[in-house]
Amino acid sequence: MITIDRLTKRFGEVTVLKSLSLAVADGRVTAIVGPNAAGKTTLMKSIVGLTRPDSGSIMVDRVRVNGDERYRAGLGYMPQIARFPDNMTASELLALARDLRSGGAYPMTLDEELVERFDIASFARKPLRTLSGGTRQKVNAALAFLFSPSLLMLDEPTAGLDPVASSALKDKILKARAEHRTVLVTSHVMSELEELADDVVLLVDGEVRFSGSIHSLKGSTRQTTLERAVANMLSSRPVAA
C-alpha cells in the first residue's frame, strides 16, 4: 500500500507536484498517465526515493520514505533511460545488484524468468555500451524483476522493446499481479495500459485529475477506450472521482 499525503516538489521556479495526495492499492496494476511534464516520472522517483519532497509524506507499507533504504529491498524500479557505465557488462551489473543486497543481508528470492526469456546470457559478457538501446532496456527490465519485489515501479517499460520482448514483459507484469504484487506503471501507449492496468491515475500539472479504476473512468466519461476516456478527461473540467 502506498499512501501519499500532500506531496509537493519544486525544481527551481517550477512546481512539479502540487500538494498531491494519492493511495495506491496492493495487488493491482496502477497506470500513471498524463500529458508530458505532468509529473509522472517525478512522482515515480519520489516513491523510489530518488527525489526528495519539499513537503508532504510518502508511506510505502507504513514505512515513511525519508532516506531509510531498507524498504527498497522489496522494490523493483525500472527507470525510463537505461544507461550504464561504459565498460560494465550485463552479468557484472546483475552480480553487482546481488552483492549490494547480500551485504545488507536482505532475503533473496531470485526470479530469473526475464533473464532467461530475454536470453541475456547471449550478450551478458559484452560491454553494455556496445548493446542497442532496446537490448539495454531488456537488462533494465530483468534487473527490476530480479529480486521478486512486492512493489514494481516501471517507467515507460516497453519503450524501445521489440514486440517479442514487449509481450514477454507484459506477461510478466500480469503474472506479478496474479501473485498479488503491486505494480505502478507509466506509459504513453494507452492501449497497452488498457491491457495491463486495473486502476488509472491521471496527472495534470502535478495534480491528480482522476484516480480510480479504468472501468469507472470509462463509465464517467462515457467512452469505450482508455485513450478516448483520458483525452475526454483532459479536454473537460475536473470531475470528482
Binding site: L50, R72, P79, F84, P85, D99, L100
Partner: protein
C-alpha cells in the same frame, strides 16, 4: 559498509579498463621514462617529473572526475533504487575514482624508476615517496572538488567549465596573484602572509613539500629559507594537516550534496 566496498570494487574494475585511464598512466610512464633516459640523474628527473605531476594531475583529475560523475548519473540512479544508503554509495563512488586515478599516476611514474634505477638510493627513495604522496593527495583533493562541482551543477557544460576554471585559478592565477603581491609589497616582511597563502592552495602546498625534499629551498631565496625552517619543524605537520583538510572539506560538502540531491 559492505555497500561501500562493493561499489568501490566494481567502479575500480570499470575504471581500470577505461582507455582514458590507461592513456593517463601511459602519459606519466612516457614522461618518467623520457626524463630518466635524457634528463640527467635521478633526482633531477624526479624534480622535472614533480613539475609535470603538479600541473597535470589536478587538471586531469578534476576534468575526468567531473565528466565521469556526469556519465555515471544514470548508474547512480540505478544503484539508488537498490537498498543502499546514499552516504555509503557516495563514499564508494569517491574512493573508486580516487583510487583508480591514483593507481594510474603512481604506476606510470613508478615503473620506469623501478626499471632504470631501482630504489637503492635512500634519498631518491624518500623523494619518490614524497612525489607519490603528493600525487595521491592532489588526486584525492581534486576528485573531491570534481564531486562537488558535478553534484551542484546540473548543466554538464557549465560543470566542465567550472572544473577547468577551478584548475586555472588554483594552478595558474593564484600564483600570479601571490607574485604580484610579493612584488608590490616586497619592502614589507611578507613571509607569514606568503606562508598562509601557500597553505590555502593545495597545489602550492604540494609544490613546497616537493621542493623542500630536494634541498632546493635555497633557490627560492629568503622566503625559501623561511619555509624550510617552517616545514622542518611542526610546519610539516601543519602542511600535511592542511592537505588533509583540503581532502576532507570537499568530501564533506560533496557527501552532503549527494545525500540531499534529486536524481
Amino acid at each position: 559498509m559492505s555497500v561501500v566496498r562493493t561499489v568501490f570494487m566494481y567502479q575500480l574494475r570499470d575504471l581500470v579498463r577505461s582507455k582514458w585511464l590507461v592513456a593517463y598512466a601511459l602519459f606519466f610512464f612516457a614522461a618518467a621514462e623520457g626524463l630518466l633516459r635524457y634528463g640527467g640523474d635521478g633526482s633531477k628527473a624526479l624534480l622535472s617529473l614533480a613539475t609535470i605531476v603538479l600541473f597535470v594531475v589536478p587538471l586531469v583529475t578534476i576534468v575526468y572526475g567531473t565528466v565521469y560523475l556526469y556519465q555515471s548519473r544514470e548508474f547512480t540512479e540505478l544503484l539508488l533504487a537498490q537498498p543502499v544508503r546514499r552516504g555509503h554509495l557516495f563514499i564508494g563512488l569517491y574512493l573508486g575514482i580516487t583510487l583508480a586515478l591514483t593507481l594510474g599516476v603512481i604506476a606510470g611514474i613508478a615503473i620506469p624508476f623501478l626499471v632504470h634505477r631501482g630504489f637503492g638510493d635512500p634519498v631518491l627513495r624518500g623523494a619518490f615517496g614524497t612525489l607519490a604522496f603528493v600525487a595521491a593527495a592532489l588526486t584525492c583533493i581534486f576528485t573531491a572538488i570534481a564531486c562537488v562541482i558535478a553534484l551542484k551543477c546540473e548543466d554538464r557544460l557549465r560543470g566542465l567549465g567550472a572544473a577547468i576554471a577551478t584548475w586555472l585559478a588554483v594552478a595558474l592565477v593564484y600564483d600570479g596573484l601571490v607574485l604580484i603581491l610579493v612584488a608590490a609589497f616586497g619592502d614589507y616582511p611578507l613571509e607569514r602572509s606568503v606562508l598562509a597563502a601557500m597553505l590555502a592552495n593545495p597545489v602550492d602546498l604540494a609544490r613546497v613539500l616537493m621542493l623542500l625534499r630536494f634541498d632546493n629551498a635555497a633557490l627560492m631565496g629568503y622566503t625559501g629559507a623561511v619555509f624550510q625552517r617552517f616545514f622542518s619543524g611542526t610546519g610539516a605537520f601543519v602542511a600535511v594537516a592542511a592537505l588533509l583538510a583540503w581532502v576532507g572539506a570537499p568530501v564533506y560538502i560533496g557527501s552532503r550534496a549527494f545525500r540531499r540531491k534529486d536524481f
